[in-house]
């Protein structure tokens, strides 16, 4: 990219770009939380954090990857807190995933059965694998960028991606999908 870097660090984020990044941020949040409402809360928290840390954003760098990184971190912290709270007041024995995967295909799209199936299947992946899969396959981020988003070595990204795809392959191979389309 041939954008000249401005002489000084900007005191604000580029607004149109932030708005333009919203649909993707929202989608990533849904993939992380598995819940449309919690996803919007996560986007809001992420934006608030982005404004707080705006002096750290380098003008001309990929705003989207920077926002994904912030979102990843906010989500990790929230997830840890929610889990702790749930462990303390543990009457509902929902052991591992706080909230759970609520994303389903809308009725209007349910003619695409295989798409519904894909959504159900990615919901069964551990969040860190799901995250890598979406960032690589859908957002088409470089593996190095994904490593920065998750704060892990690139080798970890590649093994997570490999495990995610291996699991999905087994899911579609051995279970001809008892399909749950929630409306």
């Amino acid at each position: 990219m041939a954008l000249a870097r401005p002489p000084a660090v900007p005191h604000t984020l580029p607004n149109p770009d932030l708005v333009a990044a919203l649909p993707r941020l929202r989608r990533y949040a849904r993939v992380l939380t598995g819940d449309i409402n919690r996803a919007d809360d996560l986007v809001q928290d992420t934006l608030a954090r982005a404004w707080e840390k705006r002096s750290l954003w380098q003008a001309g760098s990929d705003l989207r990857a920077w926002l994904f990184t912030i979102m990843h971190n906010v989500h990790v912290n929230q997830y840890a807190m929610r889990k702790r709270r749930q462990a303390e007041s543990s009457l509902d024995g929902d052991e591992d995933t706080p909230g759970g995967w609520q994303i389903a295909v809308r009725a209007t799209q349910s003619d695409r059965v295989e798409l519904a199936e894909v959504l159900v299947q990615i919901g069964r992946l551990p969040v860190e694998q799901r995250e890598v899969l979406i960032l690589a396959a859908v957002e088409e981020l470089r593996y190095e960028e994904i490593a920065r988003v998750q704060g892990v070595p690139i080798g970890t990204v590649m093994s997570r991606l490999n495990r995610a795809r291996e699991k999905l392959r087994r899911m579609s191979a051995d279970a001809p999908a008892p399909l749950k389309v929630v409306k």
């Binding site: 954008l3 604000t12 919007d40 809001q44 608030a48 999905l168 392959r169």
Partner: protein
């Protein structure tokens, strides 16, 4: 015998992340081994399915709170945005059109066997007026206040003109349009219609009408259609922006 392809190679190959010479080697290995070829095809197909499943989310309308959170800085720096929108930055302009009595006209036309949808109307209006060199608008932007007052009065609701100067569009002006009504160049038109009844369709819809792209949506009993000869992604970004700014304008009473 060929060197065995690792799982990591296969993933990186399909995801297009290998440097060219390495990619060529893996490609040769994959082609020579039906099992690998099948796995590569399966990963590729799955990537495509994932995008098909998740891309529709991108065109959902954004909640106002999120737009507010994305635009909540006190200072709006111009210029920075402009650099990021190089395609739009030249000779760009915005027209505000308002369709009045469209429903009646629509009915007449439908009876005549020409169904005219709102998005089609928007594309036609854009096409007709945005190319008009002499009088694309009835009231020019130097009289913005009067324009907004006049159109608001005619429609009996408070109309707003979103400021898009940071993405390189300057307001040209506005006009009242009654029926059907095509443009070119870097110009976009926003058509606003007051709807009588409440509609449940709130999502951003996209239509291509005679080569003019239109994003249209309904919000608070008003129909909005943004049209222009831009590609779908650019137009969608501006549609999100317009939606957000209108929401912000409406929530701040003057």
């Amino acid at each position: 015998m060929s060197v065995p392809v690792s799982d990591d190679d296969l993933n990186a190959y399909v995801d297009g992340q290998l440097p060219p010479e390495r990619a060529a080697r893996v490609a040769a290995d994959v082609e020579g081994d039906p099992a690998f070829a099948a796995r590569a095809a399966a990963i590729r197909a799955h990537n495509a399915q994932l995008r098909d499943a998740l891309d529709p989310w991108l065109s959902e309308p954004l909640p106002r709170e999120l737009i507010g959170a994305a635009t909540s800085s006190k200072s709006h720096r111009r210029g920075l945005g402009r650099r990021l929108w190089p395609v739009l930055a030249t000779a760009a302009s915005l027209c505000i059109g308002v369709a009045l009595g469209w429903l009646i006209r629509g009915e007449v036309l439908q009876q005549a066997g020409t169904p005219v949808t709102f998005q089609r109307q928007a594309a036609l209006t854009h096409a007709l007026y945005a190319t008009d060199a002499n009088r694309p608008v009835e009231i020019w932007a130097n009289e913005e206040e009067r324009l907004v007052r006049w159109l608001s009065k005619r429609l009996s609701f408070q109309l707003h003109a979103p400021n898009l100067s940071d993405v390189g569009f300057a307001l040209v002006g506005g006009r009242l349009v009654a029926g059907n009504e095509k443009p070119d160049k870097q110009r976009i038109s926003l058509l606003v219609r007051k709807d009588g009844e409440h509609s449940h369709e709130t999502g951003f819809r996209y239509a291509l009408e005679d080569g003019v792209g239109v994003f249209y949506w309904i919000d608070d009993n008003c129909g909005y259609a943004l049209s222009g000869n831009l590609d779908r992604t650019q137009l969608l970004s501006i549609a999100h922006l317009v939606y957000g700014r209108l929401a912000a304008l409406e929530s701040t009473p003057k």
